[in-house]
């Protein structure tokens, strides 16, 4: 709140009253930025205050685990780390499949602090990294906006981005993810790019490339930069805004940035081998061609050079384009990967890549989530866009393209709201700054009416002579104090609403660690449900060190991070068929699932079941995606339709389909379940009484169930185990008596006791 109110006044004054006092305006700038940093940091601490300093969700657990590994074993061991605890039996080469920027950042902070003899645990650095970086993002946004418009607008933008929910959604304390630092890198790269474009200096271009390098090391979203900057250059070329500055800055940035980006092991040769990066090299070639033509033109400014320039530019553009198409066709350049392709062809992922479509943050965005994440900015940023287009220059072309592309991507995928948020803050900052600037300036300038007189000299010539009525015209010219203060108050209220909304949204929607759940009783008392950690703790204490845990991929990173056990699949969904195999096991009946589990050497199965407490993100609700993914790879064995009722409903009660009632996931969820409300065994998440109850498990046995039934762990029996309890002793003796006489069997009782089980095991393993 305070930080928001501050820049309004500060900005206005700094333009009006203290025009020449640069020192004062710098002081205000620094103060506001510091306050923005503080407010941004503070508003992200809800989770830490309510719960504890803990890593959130899923991906952050992997990041934390690898950071801890790096801190412990050193950077080069981290790069060469082969993690045999993931993707059993395949393993994962972590160093080559990860963007190491995040780990390096927190690792170097850790190193620095320890060098200064400040002993701090790496976990705390990881938890607080994103909130700290939000302040840096605010500063980068300030710099970017100041390049685009004015310092006042920059302060507005900095304050907006410090607290806007669209950004804090990914950067609350504990959400230790790539995006937290990547948005800073994104904004800073754009600032440096504009700076280098303005000055045309090699120094700033190199800085841009270095910042781009940091971005590449931090987040896969660097593709956005390497496409947006070429798009900007291309647009400038089309608009006839070619200049030596553009030529120098882009060619230096492209070459240095390309070489640097290829140093990241995960990126490798992609920048020259994939279609996502081809726009950059195509524009580079085009820029070279245009530069050459311009040079020829400068040799002989007369004659038909202009036509040659246009025709030559068009021809070289077509050539470059055809070249890229040809190379793609030849297979030298890989075509667009599914993840990026689905941004253009929005139906693509749904048909071809269910694993992408299954993730909730890959869904398209409704207007209410735009409003939720941006609030008042969503209806003010077009104003900033309007004035940027109307007062276009090289930099504003950039911000226009940035806004248009980001708003498109955000519309396609909820997740990409993150790239839209910074530019919305920039443009809204511009809009607010223009308005309040005008309103406040007139107030302060007693000479306001003189200014229009100067400009409209010819019109007003007659009036100047009449000295007497001047006071009335002067009074009539301005907006009047009442109107001005009315507008000011109204906008203060809007901004206040914005900051209140941001706090509310961050606190209610984005500050849940999702590892620890909280439920509130009727009297407002809070109950902490710590089932996840309970289960992972149990795993780490009670299972063999090399035990292999099968679960759906969502929980892979957490099991590895907290339970320190081997997992089959995890959130790095690189191997679809492996995931489909796990999905198939979950979707098959017990016997078929047992075969798969033996094949995969599974020791324990972990399922999340929310029926007892009404937790909606549990495995039964995700189950239909497991079926779909499994069906994609094993269309013969798994049919999605089998899991629905005749009417096509997804149910778990007695009307559910037979396949559903007998699949492994269902059985593991509802085995022995008798909690959850008035009829014991009532499922509170689905609001139904499960249709198949009181069954026994043959091939698995319950190993552990947490306090609120949230996590259930089962042990997979070894082949020699599962038929023993089922065979009564009498029956066993009868079986043996078939082959031998009673007399001998009695005599050899001690020997024979073990024999049948051995035979049994062998027989069944052949099944």
């Amino acid at each position: 709140m305070t930080t928001l109110a501050e820049p309004n006044l500060g900005n206005g004054r700094n333009k009006g009253l203290f025009n020449n006092m640069t020192g004062f305006s710098t002081l205000i700038t620094v103060t506001v930025l510091l306050l923005a940093w503080l407010a941004g940091f503070a508003s992200r601490l809800f989770a830490v205050i309510r719960f504890e300093s803990i890593i959130h969700e899923f991906d952050p657990w992997f990041n934390y685990r690898s950071t801890a590994y790096m801190v412990q074993h050193g950077f080069y061991n981290f790069l060469n780390w082969f993690d045999e605890r993931a993707w059993y039996p395949l393993g994962r080469i972590v160093g080559g499949t990860v963007y190491p920027g995040l780990m390096i950042t927190s690792g170097s902070i850790h190193w620095l602090l320890h060098a200064l003899n400040i002993p701090i645990h790496i976990r705390d650095i990881c938890v607080f990294l994103a909130p700290v970086f939000s302040g840096l993002t605010a500063i980068a946004t300030y710099l970017l906006t100041a390049e685009l418009w004015s310092r006042g607008a920059g302060l507005f933008a900095a304050c907006f981005i410090a607290i806007v929910p669209g950004y804090s959604s990914r950067s609350v304390a504990g959400s230790y993810d790539n995006e937290g630092i990547a948005i800073f890198a994104l904004q800073f790269t754009y600032f440096l790019w504009l700076k280098s474009l303005k000055t045309g200096s090699v120094f700033w271009s190199i800085c841009t490339a270095l910042s781009y390098f940091y971005m590449v090391s931090a987040w896969g979203g660097y593709v956005f930069i390497i496409n947006l900057i070429p798009l900007h250059v291309f647009a400038l070329l089309i608009m006839g805004r070619f200049s030596q500055r553009l030529f120098v800055s882009y060619s230096v940035f492209y070459i240095v940035g390309l070489l640097l980006s290829m140093q990241i092991p995960f990126v490798g040769f992609q920048p020259i081998r994939t279609s996502e990066h081809m726009a950059a090299s195509g524009v580079f070639a085009l820029l070279m061609a245009v530069g050459a033509l311009k040079y020829l033109h400068s040799l002989n400014p007369k004659g038909q050079w202009k036509q040659l320039l246009i025709v030559g530019g068009l021809v070289s553009a077509a050539l470059v384009f055809l070249m890229v198409v040809f190379l793609t066709y030849m297979g030298v350049i890989a075509p667009w990967s599914g993840r990026f392709y689905s941004l253009w062809d929005t139906a693509y992922a749904k048909i071809h890549i269910p694993i992408i479509a299954s993730v909730s943050e890959h869904q398209p965005t409704t207007w209410s989530s735009f409003f939720f994440d941006l609030h008042v900015l969503v209806c003010t940023f077009p104003v900033g866009l309007w004035y940027c287009v109307k007062n276009i220059n090289d930099e504003r072309v950039f911000v226009t393209l940035y806004a248009l592309s980001a708003v498109y991507f955000a519309g396609v995928m909820v997740r990409l709201m993150l790239t839209l948020t910074p530019v919305v803050c920039v443009l809204s900052g511009i809009a607010f700054s223009i308005l309040l600037d005008l309103l406040l300036r007139e107030d302060e300038l007693p000479a306001a009416p003189v200014e229009p007189n100067d400009k409209n000299l010819y019109d007003k010539a007659g009036k100047v002579k009449k000295r007497a009525p001047e006071p009335t015209t002067q009074a009539d010219f301005g907006l009047g104090t009442n109107v001005r203060s009315g507008v000011l108050i109204a906008f203060m209220i809007l901004l206040m609403l914005f900051s209140v909304h941001c706090t509310w949204a961050t606190s209610n929607a984005y500050s849940s660690p999702s590892i620890v759940l909280a439920s509130y009783g009727n009297d407002g008392s809070r109950k902490i449900l710590d089932d996840f950690r309970e289960a992972y703790g149990w795993l780490s204490q009670n299972t063999a060190d090399d035990a292999r845990i099968m679960s759906w991929w969502d929980y892979g990173y957490q099991i590895a991070g907290m339970g320190n056990r081997t997992t089959l699949v995890d959130n790095n969904t690189w191997n679809n068929s492996h995931i489909a195999l796990v999905g198939k096991a979950m979707a098959s009946n017990e016997t078929a699932a047992y075969d798969i589990m033996t094949m995969l050497d599974v020791d324990y199965v972990l399922v999340i079941f929310g029926g007892a407490i009404g937790y909606s993100g549990d495995d039964i609700n995700k189950f239909i995606w497991m079926v779909r993914i499994a069906e994609g790879e094993h269309p013969k064995d798994i049919h999605e339709a089998d899991y629905f009722t005749e009417k096509g409903e997804y149910r778990v009660d007695s009307e559910a389909s037979k396949t559903m009632l007998n699949c492994l996931m269902y059985k593991l969820s509802y085995y022995r379940y008798d909690s959850g409300g008035s009829p014991p065994g009532y499922d509170r998440t689905r609001g139904a009484l499960p249709g198949n109850r009181g069954f026994k498990l043959t091939f698995l046995e319950e190993a552990y169930t947490t306090e609120h039934w949230l996590v259930r762990i089962y042990r997979v029996k070894k082949p020699y185990e599962f038929n023993r309890p089922r065979l009564p002793l009498a029956k066993r003796t009868i079986q043996t008596s078939l082959t031998m006489s009673k007399k001998t069997s009695k005599r050899r009782k001690g020997v024979l006791k073990n024999k049948p089980t051995l035979v049994k095991g062998k027989k069944l393993s052949k099944l």
Binding site: S369, V383, L385, W386, P452
Partner: protein, 331 residues
């Protein structure tokens, strides 16, 4: 000895052959006929006699996929045409694929030509795609469920593979309409630009570009992309009259998104009006010598636009989001 055994063997062979021939004569003939028909037309039109002969009567070793439809315009079956197009793609892909065999044929029954077939199978709706397996009667799963699977050729092929184990790779005749439309548009624009080559000032009209950019933003921000992907209804009809706003925050109606776009637009217009009234951005508009009264009015009007429409937007949002505590001007 040698010859004798050979003789016996050949006799046995001939006997067996002739025996088999008499048994399978009907079948071979049928398959031959069907193959000839398929060569002419990848989907075989069936009337009652043909249907009985080829699809229902016993000696069969082939699967028959039949679409029951009502294509006559008088029947007003809009979806039939779409399904037929997709079905045709499937049949053609099979016809010209390397896996083509006489183990499966595609047929079609139109209601106006074979209403007795509809009666015979007790079909009351169209379109229906049914699979008649080589052995036995069709099961419930042998009629395709459009509602769940969709009507795309891919879905049909998946279903066919499910029922018959015959894999078909869908080969869509490349859809030139998009490319043609695009190139037509391109040619039009290029031609237009060429005709007006002496007067290209309008391209430098920033107002136009700005309006276009704003419209794009409004469309995206109001969730048109969501509409396009999810295809929600225009608005919802209930007993208590139409509902324009979806109650949940995870859904929206088409009309709702238009309303939101207009609300957003009104706020933006209001704000631009205020800025223009206050003097505009220096450098673009020279300070206009407007009368103070008019400027004041414009400012107040803009302010009212901003406040009222933003409050409306907020209250719509509040109605959709459970437990949202804040509002402005309106509840």
């Amino acid at each position: 000895m040698k010859y004798k055994s050979l003789l016996i063997f050949s006799i046995v062979l001939i006997c067996y052959n002739s025996d088999a021939q008499t048994r399978a004569k009907g079948l071979e003939e049928k398959v031959q006929q069907l193959t000839d028909m398929t060569a002419k037309q990848s989907i075989i039109p069936l009337n009652l006699n043909k249907f009985k002969e080829f699809v229902r009567s016993p000696p069969r070793d082939y699967s028959f996929v039949v679409m029951f439809t009502a294509m006559a315009p008088a029947r007003r079956c809009a979806i039939c045409q779409h399904v037929y197009d997709e079905y045709l793609i499937v049949a053609n892909s099979f016809r010209y694929s390397p896996s083509y065999s006489n183990k499966m044929f595609f047929g079609i029954v139109d209601f106006d030509e074979g209403s007795d077939i509809f009666q015979m199978l007790r079909l009351t709706t169209a379109p229906v795609i049914m699979h008649f397996p080589a052995k036995g009667k069709p099961k419930p799963a042998d009629s395709m469920d459009f509602e769940r699977a969709g009507i795309h050729a891919e879905a049909i092929i998946k279903w066919i593979q499910d029922r018959t184990d015959i894999q078909i790779r869908v080969f869509r005749p490349p859809n030139y309409s998009g490319a043609v439309a695009f190139s037509m548009l391109f040619i039009l624009v290029a031609g237009f630009l060429y005709l007006r080559r002496n007067n290209l000032e309008f391209l430098y009209n920033k107002q136009m570009w700005a309006v276009a950019a704003l419209f794009f933003c409004f469309a995206m921000v109001s969730g048109q992309m969501w509409n396009q992907i999810r295809g929600p209804p225009f608005f919802h009809r209930t007993k208590n009259g139409p509902v324009y706003i979806n109650g949940g925050s995870h859904g929206q109606f088409v009309l709702e998104s238009y309303i939101v776009a207009i609300l957003n637009g009104a706020v933006v217009v209001g704000m631009i009006m205020m800025i223009e009234a206050a003097g505009g951005v220096s450098g673009t508009d020279a300070q206009r010598a407007q009368e103070g009264k008019r400027r004041r009015f414009q400012t107040v009007f803009g302010l009212v636009l901003v406040c009222v429409f933003f409050s409306l937007l907020l209250s719509v949002f509040r109605a959709k989001t459970q437990g949202y505590p804040y509002s402005f001007l309106f509840k």
